[in-house]
Symmetry: C2
Subunit: 320 residues, 2 copies
Amino acid sequence: MRDLAGGTQAVYGFNRSTSGARAAAKEGYDVSDDLVATLQRAEADGAMIVIAVPMHAVANVLDNIIEHAPTCGITDVVSVKKPVYDLIRERGLETRYVGGHPMAGTEKSGWSASQEGLFHRAAWVITYDYALEKEQAGEPVPAEWIDLFSDVCRMAVGVKAEAVPASVRKHDEAVGRISHLPHVIAEALSIVGDEGGTLSQSLAAGSFKDATRVAGTAPELVRAMCETNAAALVYSLDQMIELLTKARNDLDSDSPNIAELVDAGHRAHTRMEARSGARRESVSPVKISSRPVMRLHPGGHNWVRQLVQAESLGGRIEVF
Amino acid sequence: MRDLAGGTQAVYGFNRSTSGARAAAKEGYDVSDDLVATLQRAEADGAMIVIAVPMHAVANVLDNIIEHAPTCGITDVVSVKKPVYDLIRERGLETRYVGGHPMAGTEKSGWSASQEGLFHRAAWVITYDYALEKEQAGEPVPAEWIDLFSDVCRMAVGVKAEAVPASVRKHDEAVGRISHLPHVIAEALSIVGDEGGTLSQSLAAGSFKDATRVAGTAPELVRAMCETNAAALVYSLDQMIELLTKARNDLDSDSPNIAELVDAGHRAHTRMEARSGARRESVSPVKISSRPVMRLHPGGHNWVRQLVQAESLGGRIEVF
């Protein structure tokens, strides 16, 4: 909301927390703690609705949207996409929904923890399963959905993020590895460090603090994302456990040797750094994204295939 | 060296890398690439020698010190203490050696990666096994060793670090948990993320980047510290693998539930944050260390017992 408010579109919102809504209003943002009134206003304006609540609260928000904003387009920023899409399908809302997930955040929650510029150069995943299903069925994608897809892309770019298309399944598999797995690891590593007692607590420095930062996230949020993406997370946890068990056995020897893990890990880190977007701390005045860019016209010839191609490259799209 | 150079003592050094030595000299630091000449100068000055090389290079440095600086006091900053102390003992250098380990660093190496202020508020572990052994044997601790211990404490405080006493064994156990384990995890997590291919690489953001940052460390340095602290690392890896396996099984169910891990992890993280020193990003103008402080006079009544007590609290000491 902070980043969108500077644009040409009116931006307003609802916060279930009265104190959160008041704090935002005090800073001049148009935020209410009345859900029904906010949805009725959105319906009157033909607004696009951005759902930014934990997974367990999505169903209730959708039911309120059906009742009070029955024609608005809907997107969301929930960190798993299949459970959201299941709720959308159950309610027959596919033509009004384009999923989203900005890959940016901190371990803190609530209005007071929000900050401008959080999305700068971050990937903002935008799902396109509905278009793919239509194409595969040989049916046209409704103009309403195409417009919504374009609006969501423009919103992402409007907050300086990079729009990266992905199917629900591919998104959930990827974030299982690169977001939910690091959260589970941060929790476990915090426990192992803490069990070392006061000396370990006193000596913990950069490597430990960085690796465990996200264990400061509210437990219910961590559970919401991990438990609703369990299959993908189990798969990546199994890989992780296998690598750690191998390392453990390679260390438990008369001549401990973890060259295999460390060499492969360093190479993987180098590749990830090169491919995961410009580094925040880069000193270069010209920030060039490392994500390949594809310009496309939503609804144009072959556009769904272009989305599939961009997804396979982890590329960003610019719509025109 | 950058931080010490501003003090009242002359500071000079040796760098095996000629280009590194030249780069430091260009910035006005007194650095040579001639080890023998540097050691002879140290001997003539009665200097204290700080060994800051990877573990595999320590033996050769010690042998050169025996030959060219036969009376200088010795400390080091190697991240494992038992292998260093074994080399010290083999050479009968116990009375001239006090081990050290500043808990600060980055994933980068070499002079060009050095920075002022790196040690600010960091714990600088200082080992005291020799004094403990003497005390337990009912023998006096030699004045030479007590003076060296005081000098090492003053050096640590001189670069704004906090001197934390620890025995070799307790140090190695603690850093196995809070430093070497995060390194192994960073390597493994980098591999799992990278195996997700270009989409995962593109989507990786804060939680992944922070958790894998130290996988950017030179592989030989990671191996040196992990492989020479294998026993402690195996112990903490076993704890980690057990927690991750439990989480994996709790997720692989019809109603995935990792409340136990996440709640315990969040509590552990809160305790670690509270006890591991003032946060770098704290906005408070008055930085107050969270480490308890103990003032002691090296060689004074009960001073070795005070060290044991400070260690058990993860506390810092101030010598007078």
